[in-house]
Amino acid sequence: MRIMIAEDSAILRDGLAYLLADRGHTVTAAVATGDELRAAVAADPPDICVIDIRMPPTFTDEGLRAALALQRSHPAVALLVFSQYVETRYATELLANPGGGVGYLLKDRVADVREFVEALERVAGGGTALDPEVVTQLLGASRRRDELAMLTPRETEVLAALAEGLSNAGIAAQLVVTERAVEKHIANIFAKLGLAASETENRRVMAALRYLQG
């Protein structure tokens, strides 16, 4: 994979670059601001950008704004946005515009190298990677709690895992059930929420998320 990094902390930027190179990926550019990122992507679009939300000059949501701009200008480039905090608003803004792969992870997740690289590859492949915390918050913030309340606890777990971007096999492994059981739960969820099941994983996740966002 060809990866671009936008992160203002030098120690983290270098660390990420080293980690990704070590896992056999190519880091085409490592920049420190949103503007530099936009310029770098325009010059040589990578497969995926890893973007810190807070960067100079305002240290607020620079990275997010750069990501939203890239979603419009380069829909083919996958985006993994990184944050120290989970903010519902950021996640909904990113997901509102389903183009290529999108991810929103807490910075902590870098610590678990294998899971992080897997999430990165999933996003680069057009999939979704949402931090479990983001999913919890989206579920919590949903304006359709009453309908969500109809789900059994197990179904809620499955929905959360599904919203994180896991495949049926991934969900089965996480919840220690058979894939067959997962399929059944998902069918029930869609039935209860009145959603028609569709064949691709990403559309499924997006549908669920858009539903959660109310």
């Binding site: 120690i11 240290f59 905090y85 608003r89 910075k107 902590d108 918050q137 919590g140």
Partner: protein, 489 residues
């Protein structure tokens, strides 16, 4: 008056306390400050001031009375009187201003300057603002009061110091007094006679006089200081800033403190985020990578010697622990930073409250209609109020639903947090609500609780849009978001 005296004593004692502390309590050789006051520079400065006070009092009194009465008299005769009254008011103001400066530097007082004179445009405007200038009239009143004060300080100082000097030295110089016939008209008495015919010439009398002199000299500096304290009170009230301008001043400095605290907290949060937090993440990442590498190494070299394997397993266990600790530290620093200044507040109160509500254990609906946007410090206070009130709902109300409503009403920000719970919330001393009220009061906000037993509960917080109720006339550019909320360079 009492306060000033206490303050005086405090400051007098303050000079001896460090010495006592240095020598330790066992060495009780401290000379009470009462006996040492006379030796100090301060006593002599005060004596000089007390003596000068009389001519100043007489001059100021005469000037004030003459200017006011003469201008008043001229009003009847011609229209010259009113401008004269205005001009002499300004002169009184000027005199008061400089006399206050003199007293400040002379006696080390710290009486602030009154608000400067602002004349309206035009001759008539100028006259009008002179006549309406409270400071000018207060200065006049001061100089009228200064006469009795000056007399009191002058008389006290001269009488006490003179008695002291006379009593202390009489035994020495009385023998050179002019010759005076005694009651029988016979002897030449060289001494002071009293009204009852007694003479001050015996040894016990001399000793008594010395004693009286000592007592007078010991009392003198304190008596002078007490009268100067009255002068200081008068000067503070009449030559210092008026209470209205003092309140405005305090409001301004308090608003500055509130804004400054908010900016400092934000900077601390940013330092934690960009420094500590980034390093911790890098640390955890490297530990994670090291773990992976060792695990891979173990998989490749399966079948090597048992001791190598055991060492690798030990190292992996240690790395696992370090990894977990680093991740805990990241989470802790994040919670800490969020408690100091929630970064999402930078995106606005509505966004921050939405995230807050998403965390709430009880479902909470958020309505916002915020325009114009309050200053960052007000947003921070509103945010932490909402957070505290939402926590209260989850902890105490047994409510099924809550609502948070934030809107600008006129020039105030109104935050209303309601729930359908059991009610009975009250403002207990030391309770959470009382703490909130204290925080709100730092910006002149208000907190009202409506929570009958059985519910529902509505708590209303009203805040100004800026910490200072009368903001400075700074132009507010359209992109103030990036100006106010930009990094603290």
């Amino acid at each position: 008056m009492l306060d000033t005296m206490n303050e005086m004593n405090d400051s007098a004692f303050a000079t001896t306390v460090p010495r006592a502390r240095r020598e330790g309590p066992a060495v009780a050789r401290r000379v009470p400050v009462f006996f040492t006051a006379l030796g100090g520079r301060r006593a002599w400065l005060e004596l000089a001031y007390a003596l000068v006070a009389l001519p100043v009092g007489i001059g100021g009194f005469v000037f004030t009375v003459v200017t006011v009465s003469v201008s008043g008299g001229m009003v009847a005769v011609a229209l010259v009187g009113i401008p004269t009254l205005a001009a002499t008011g300004l002169a009184s103001r000027w005199l008061g201003y400089h006399w206050r400066l003199a007293a400040n530097s002379w006696l080390g007082w710290a009486i602030d300057a009154p608000e400067p004179f602002r004349g309206d445009p035009g001759f008539l405007g100028w006259i009008r603002s002179c006549l309406a200038d409270g400071t000018a009239w207060r200065s006049r009143l001061y100089f009228v009061l200064k006469l009795p004060l000056g007399i009191a300080s002058f008389v006290t100082a001269t009488v006490l110091y003179a008695i002291g000097a006379w009593g202390l030295t009489y035994w020495f110089w009385y023998r050179w007094l002019p010759c005076r016939a005694d009651s029988e008209g016979v002897h030449c008495q060289r001494n002071t006679g009293l009204w009852n015919g007694a003479h001050l010439d015996s040894v016990p009398t001399m000793l008594l006089l010395v004693l009286i002199g000592i007592v007078a000299l010991l009392i003198a500096p304190w008596a002078v200081r007490a009268i100067l304290a009255l002068d200081r009170l008068a000067m503070q009230a009449l030559l210092g800033p008026s209470s209205a301008s003092r309140v405005a001043e305090l409001e301004h400095s308090r608003a500055h403190a509130v804004d400054d605290a908010a900016a400092t907290l934000r900077r601390i949060e940013r330092d934690l985020h960009d420094g500590t937090q980034a390093r911790l993440v890098a640390l955890a990442m490297n530990i994670g990578l090291a773990k992976e590498k060792i695990a891979e190494g173990t998989a490749e070299s399966a079948g090597s010697t048992g001791s190598d394997d055991a060492a690798r397993t030990d190292a992996l266990t240690l790395l696992d622990r370090a990894h977990a600790t680093a991740k805990d530290a990241i989470a802790e620093v994040r919670d800490l930073a969020r408690g100091i200044h929630p970064p999402v507040l930078d995106a606005g109160l509505d966004v921050a409250l939405g995230t807050l509500a998403a965390h709430s254990a009880v479902p909470v609906r958020v309505h916002t209609a915020i325009d114009p946007r309050p200053t960052p410090s007000i947003e921070t206070i509103a945010y932490f109020c909402a957070a505290e009130l939402m926590t209260n709902i989850a902890k105490h109300s047994h409510a099924g639903h809550g609502t948070v409503d934030v809107r600008t009403v006129g020039d105030r920000l109104r935050l209303q947090v309601a729930d359908d719970g059991v009610g009975g919330a009250s403002m207990r001393a030391g309770g959470g609500l009382a703490g909130l009220r204290e925080r709100i009061r730092t910006v002149d906000g208000r907190l009202t609780v409506d929570s009958p037993p059985g519910g529902p509960t509505t708590i209303t917080v009203e805040l100004p849009l800026a910490a200072e109720s009368t903001p400075r006339q700074d132009p507010q550019p359209a992109d103030r978001g990036s100006v106010d909320r930009g990094p603290v360079a």
